[in-house]
Amino acid sequence: MILALAAILALQDTTRISEAQSVLSQLVESYGVSGMEAPVRATVQRLLPSWAKSETDTAGNVWVRLGQGDGPVVIVAHMDEIGFRVDTINADGTLGLRTRGGFILSLFEAKPALIHTDRADIPGIFLPRDSGLTRRTPPALRVSVGATTRAGAESLGVKVGQTITMPKQYVRLAGTRATGRSFDDRMGCAALILALRTLDRAKLRHPVVFLFSTREEIGLEGAGAAARQLGTSTRRVHAIDTFVSADSPLELQNFAVQKLGAGAVARALDNSSITPPAYVDSLANIARARGIALQIGTTNGGNDGSTFTEFGVVDVPMGWPLRYSHSPVELVDLKDLVSLAELIRAVAEDW
């Protein structure tokens, strides 16, 4: 009997991992550099449950409002990703770039590039350095689309202001691990969508806003607009974002050591917010009551919820452990996504 139950639970786990992967992979393979999130927004809207009515505000944020009354709990994940913007089209046809968000520049040097337009993406390459500089960090990167003049580049459809990334792919690794670019914060978006799909709306104790925000990587701008709009009425905010983990052979082990595969993480202290200890305890109690794996830790980075704190709103951010942040090979464990989605559902229904 116990064995049969274990087999059934294992089968259910497989189904949940499978659904988590299906949602996550579609989000990861959508492109959306900060300020140009439209493809991700469209994917989010397509993956929402059919009953969910969404609205898009002037900042580009997607809102899903549930429940009645005042004082919403806001649960927010960001849609944007790091990348570049076309800053200049040079006389030799190469493109000068401006970074959007913070990352290690050398990871893009001498790699394939994609210039994102309203229509088809334009392929190109991030040019290798030509200076003979043999240090790790390259000079300012440029992109070639194969043109040798400004007019040639423009004739291919390149315009100043377009965004640039490199091609990306969701790839499943051994066990329940997966890799790709922009898991930060498509994992958060996926967790919100998975929670919405299983949510019992009759159980909500407060109104809840599921918010998919824009321009987080360049200064929490989308969430900031939403925070100002709601003002002091917000009951509590939960940023659902990356817990950058030191679970890696290259990192110092003095903090952020929460392990991949061990469940969601309460991001209790980061560079933008501190969760009051009593709220961390409440979150731990909610997780324990539902048998959800929860780790508690501290890491670096800022989160969208911190834009609400100036209105007297407590930010209780939650995340999942991520290796190799802001690189082309961010790495996650799908078990943590399942855990995080369950925790979000529990927070919405029970707290």
Binding site: P112, P123, S144, L173, E251
Partner: protein, 315 residues
């Protein structure tokens, strides 16, 4: 026994029934292990194997020097009548009689092999090929990128670890030296050595950057080793075009050009020579030894046409 005697004995053995049987067995193995790319070759009509399409397909393949078998498997399927010698070179004899000439391309590449597996499931690497003349930035192309580990049970995706941007904040980075292979930890998602071994990965398993050829601009192709692959594509396309042949021409795809002082080519000379003339096929490229080494597909077509002329006896 002198080297000449050894070469003569080798040639006698290869002409014997035993040698023929060995080749037949090799073929069966290669048919069993044929890659998806090779399957595409089998199912596509030969007329469709243009130099362009072959350049893109070859650029997606991996042939770490000394570990070229997967790519040579595909070549054997692509080129009816071709055979593979014991070192791994693939050759195809066209025509008959004198003069006897050889035209070849180097298909191998600088890559990596598994050097160690840690208790917690990370794979460390040693470079294969390269040497002192290699750019000090060569290994840096691995950092924070996807790799393919060619295990005995199939290709296994992995990534090369990189420090998280967020966790470097506030710590001095300065004017750091480039990333080297000594700092490469490959993460395949395993949590222990046993999990790595279960994937068919062991010491010496070849490893390369994941290949994603990128076409861009007006007929440009960017990929690791694009120049070498384009040269082999031009040679294969010329051989498949049923060219007029003057005398005998041995079309050769050589292995280990980057190791042991071009062991592959020397093997062909010793086994199938002497030749009155030898030509190495090259295609001009930009950004060599980078992930975006770039060739012009028109150049590939021009080289193909030139090879066809050369095989026919024109200069």
């Amino acid at each position: 026994m002198t080297m000449l005697q050894a070469v003569k004995n080798q040639r006698r053995r290869s002409k014997s029934n035993g040698g023929g049987r060995s080749v037949a067995v090799d073929r069966r193995i290669c048919l069993l292990t044929v890659s998806t790319a090779a399957f595409a070759f089998l199912t596509a009509p030969l007329a469709a194997q243009t130099a362009d399409s072959l350049a893109v397909r070859f650029s997606a393949m991996t042939a770490v020097t000394g570990y070229e078998q997967a790519m040579t498997d595909s070549l054997l399927v692509l080129l009816p009548g071709s055979s593979r010698d014991r070192l791994g070179n693939v050759t195809l004899a066209l025509g008959r009689g004198a003069p006897k000439r050889v035209i070849y391309c180097n298909l191998d590449e600088i890559g990596y092999a598994v050097g160690n597996i840690t208790d917690d499931g990370y794979i460390t690497l040693r470079r294969v090929g390269g040497g002192a003349r290699l750019s000090p930035l060569f290994d840096q192309q691995l950092e924070g990128h996807r790799v393919t580990v060619f295990g005995r049970r199939g290709a296994v995706p992995g990534v090369v670890a990189v420090r998280s941007t967020h966790l470097t904040r506030g710590r001095p980075t300065g004017n750091e030296a480039p990333f080297t292979v000594d700092n490469a930890y490959v993460d395949v998602g395993a949590a222990s050595r046993d999990e790595v071994l279960a994937l068919g990965i062991s010491l010496l398993t070849p490893v390369s950057l994941a290949k994603r050829p990128q076409r861009y601009g007006n007929g440009l192709l960017a990929a690791p080793n694009a120049g070498r692959r384009a040269a082999c594509a031009a040679l294969a396309a010329a051989a498949l075009s049923k060219p007029r042949v003057r005398g005998t021409v041995v079309v050769a795809f050589t292995v280990q050009s980057l190791y042991a002082d071009t062991a592959g080519l020397k093997t062909i000379v010793h086994l199938q020579g002497p030749f009155t003339e030898a030509r190495m096929v090259t295609v001009p490229s930009k950004f060599p030894e980078t992930t975006v080494e770039t060739v012009g597909l028109k150049d590939v077509a021009d080289v193909t046409a030139d090879i066809v002329k050369w095989i026919g006896g024109s200069q």
